[in-house]
Amino acid sequence: MASNNAVAATAEFELDEDELEAALSEVPAGQEGVLPALHEAQEMYGYLPEAALEKIAEVCDTPLSEVVGVATFYDHFSLQPQGDHTIRVCTGTACHVNGADDTLEELQSELDITPGEVTDDGAFTLTTVRCVGACGLAPVVMVDDDVEGSTTPEDVPAMIEKYREGGD
């Protein structure tokens, strides 16, 4: 089930224009700046709120339709609010042959969401990723920027607990 918090967050989001503008001060001028700007904004908000996309369109002097087109093309960007932590299950070859599906299934059942969704309490987003290049440790799960290696379904509850307690 998708989170209601997530929907509420979209409605509640108010853009601090100065803050975003300051963060975008280093991005290259013109359309070249769109990808770096999207990275900046997503890092700040965890996703790309509509108001931020409008601001990026203005700063990069690029039509909003183009900015949205770019944002939706790349898997890395999300137009929906994300959980405090993003759990990415690697489904690359090494992980696939070493049982990534089992780990993913367990995560889905523990968090009660499917890939692409956010938990009700807004703590976690679950998603899959094609390969994080840590194949020697397959199957691998990436939580935010941390790599958890050699995961088994049995590890899942402890993994979730670790990040839930650790806050953000």
């Binding site: 093309f73 790349y74 070859t93 390969c131």
Partner: protein, 584 residues
């Protein structure tokens, strides 16, 4: 690969080098490094003369040491499954699976006592023990050129790289050679692109150099997308200055003053390391204006990708850098004629560029003598699947698959060898009869496969080859950008047929259609993604046709396909399918 003799610690001090590649870090190596550094600092207090040269304290690098010990970090050794790894120089001892609990023991027995702790050394499954890294069969069968520094130098320390001859190649190129001598040298060396197709690098540079333009660019393609391949990540994390140097040489040879490292956002550590290396190189005068007082300007910047496999295709990569949707364009014009913002742009793979400094330092003849005649040099392979040792290896081109799988990776575990998938989703599945074929760009192409980025997935008898084809096609289908119909619709239809096979519902007619589509998609797709997407299907049909035929009879010889369960999945997929004639 031994670097023990010319260790940068001229005082002969002991170096305790903890691997800080992504794999070992996730196994807790940074805690080990910190604990070691702390204990060594304590030894200093106890008046045992030591100095600490950790990642955070490059400023201390000049602290004189007398027979002291250093705690260091390094990049990836490629042996991630045995991590965290601790290498001890100058002896070249390798400790595996080191935890913070082992630190006291290491300091007492090894640092102070000079004793090798056998329990921490690498043990083979039949109880063989190896104390030195170089003696472990996983390493002794390798020939490391681009990975020669990985696992040895501190990737965050430019002096470490310089001590290994780093930037000598750049200096030689810029200060002593004309640009055409540089590309000629690379051409004579016979270096071919390590990203997949094996195009001669020197020839590409020659084309770029011949273009008349105000601004030219060099781009390092580090958008390493193949699942199961991680050589670029490993190289950038472990030896980032090698890439910086290779790019600067490429810039000089082609007449480009700007370079861009296009790197996956999913590799945060590699992004950090390459950014740090660029800053250090700028400060040291290897990047910037008027390099070596010759008037040659060259600078680098980093651009992060955003998770689109197709961006690894060079025309799509250009779009990504320009801030657009990463969709490919028809070629010609090739990027060397009209690339970034319409300017001549040389795009090279990271491993290709990693070879360049060595070629300039040691000469074309030296390089041409390594490997096979039509494919000189070495190639890195990411070995995974049913083998004793998974990891990253670098071997001379021209060795056989058998040598790579049995001698270096330690052989097949589980059942008997059945197949090896080479080159990721664009590559093919080869069978037993190919084990003794030398691996070169051309021999693999003849067998219907390709070296690709160098993924090597070894599979035993329990693997269903139809399922393998389905897995790879599900990947390329999902990553198809949708621009051209053969790829967008063709891969979808192929995947549906493969799902019918793994569900036990396929018919004779499906098999014929699959073959037909396979040919059609390969022939008519716009870019490399679509052109090579059918390769896993094509090669499994070629070498494992009996398995497809068995599935027609409702039987999976490997026993992997669960005919009842997977039927549900395939019907779910239909929701997103696109009708052939469908234009909305």
């Amino acid at each position: 690969m031994s670097k023990v003799e010319d260790s940068p610690d001229e005082d002969g001090g002991m170096r305790l080098i903890t691997c800080a590649g992504t794999g070992c870090v996730s196994s807790g190596s940074l805690d080990v490094h910190e604990a070691l550094a702390e204990r060594i600092a304590e030894l200093e207090d106890e008046d045992v003369e030591v100095a600490l040269q950790g990642s955070e304290s490059e400023a201390d690098a000049d602290v004189p040491t007398v027979g002291g010990a250093h705690a260091h970090i390094s990049g990836c050794h490629g042996f991630c499954e045995e991590g965290p790894l601790l290498r001890i120089e100058p002896e070249g001892i390798l400790y595996t699976g080191v935890t913070t609990d082992d630190v006291d023991d290491i300091v007492e027995r090894t640092v102070k006592g000079g004793e090798i702790i056998e329990d921490l050394c690498y043990h083979t499954s039949d109880d063989g023990v190896y104390t030195r890294e170089e003696d472990i069969p996983f390493y002794s069968g390798q020939k490391r050129i681009v990975l020669s520094n990985s696992g040895h130098v501190d990737p965050e320390c430019i002096e470490d790289y310089e001590n290994e001859g780093g930037y000598d190649g750049l200096e030689r190129a810029v200060a002593e050679m004309a640009p055409d001598e540089v590309w000629q040298e690379v051409k004579d060396a016979g270096l071919r692109g390590r990203g997949g197709a094996g195009f001669p690098t020197g020839l590409k540079w020659e084309f770029a150099a011949g273009q008349d333009a105000d601004q030219k660019y060099v781009v390092a393609n580090c958008d390493e997308g193949d699942p199961g391949a991680f050589m670029d990540r490993s190289l950038v994390e472990g030896d980032p200055h090698r890439l910086v140097e290779g790019m600067a040489i490429a810039g000089y040879a082609t007449g480009a003053s700007k370079g861009i490292v296009f790197i996956r956002a999913e590799y945060p550590l590699a992004v950090e390391r390459i950014k740090g290396a660029i800053e250090d190189a700028q400060e040291a005068g290897y990047l910037g204006e008027d390099l070596f007082g010759t008037g040659f300007d060259f600078d680098l910047e980093v651009k992060k990708g955003a998770g689109a496999f197709v961006s690894g295709e060079e025309t799509a990569l250009i779009k990504s850098i320009e801030g657009k949707r990463g969709m490919p364009d028809p070629r010609p014009p090739y990027p060397v004629e009209s690339g970034l913002w319409g300017q001549p742009t040389t795009i090279n793979n990271v491993e290709t560029l990693g070879n360049v400094p060595e070629i300039i330092r040691h000469g074309a003849d030296w390089f041409a003598d390594i490997g096979a005649e039509d494919s000189p040099g070495t190639k890195t392979f990411a070995v995974t699947g049913d083998v004793e040792n998974t990891g990253l290896i670098e071997v001379p081109l021209g060795i056989t698959l058998r040598e790579a799988i049995y001698d270096v990776a330690g052989g097949v575990v589980g059942d008997e060898f059945k197949a090896v998938q080479i080159g990721g989703p664009s590559g093919g599945c080869l069978a037993e009869q190919h084990l003794d074929m030398p691996m070169t760009f051309d021999s693999l192409q003849e067998a219907g496969a390709m070296i690709g980025s160098g993924g090597l997935v070894v599979m035993d008898e329990s693997t269903c080859m139809v399922e393998v084809a389905r897995y790879f096609l599900s990947f390329t289908q999902e990553e198809s950008c949708g621009k051209c119909p053969p790829c967008r619709v063709g891969t979808k239809r192929m995947l549906e047929i493969l799902e019918k096979f793994t569900a036990g519902e396929a018919t004779e007619e499906d098999l014929e259609r699959l073959e037909e589509l396979s040919e059609y998609v390969a022939d008519s797709s716009l870019c490399g993604l679509g052109k090579t997407a059918p390769t896993p299907v094509d090669t499994t049909l070629r070498y494992f046709r009996d398995e497809y035929e068995a599935h027609l009879e409702g039987e999976c010889p490997a026993g992997e396909c669960d005919f009842d369960d997977s039927a549900d999945e395939s019907s779910e997929q239909d929701e997103t399918s696109e009708p052939m004639e469908g234009v909305q």
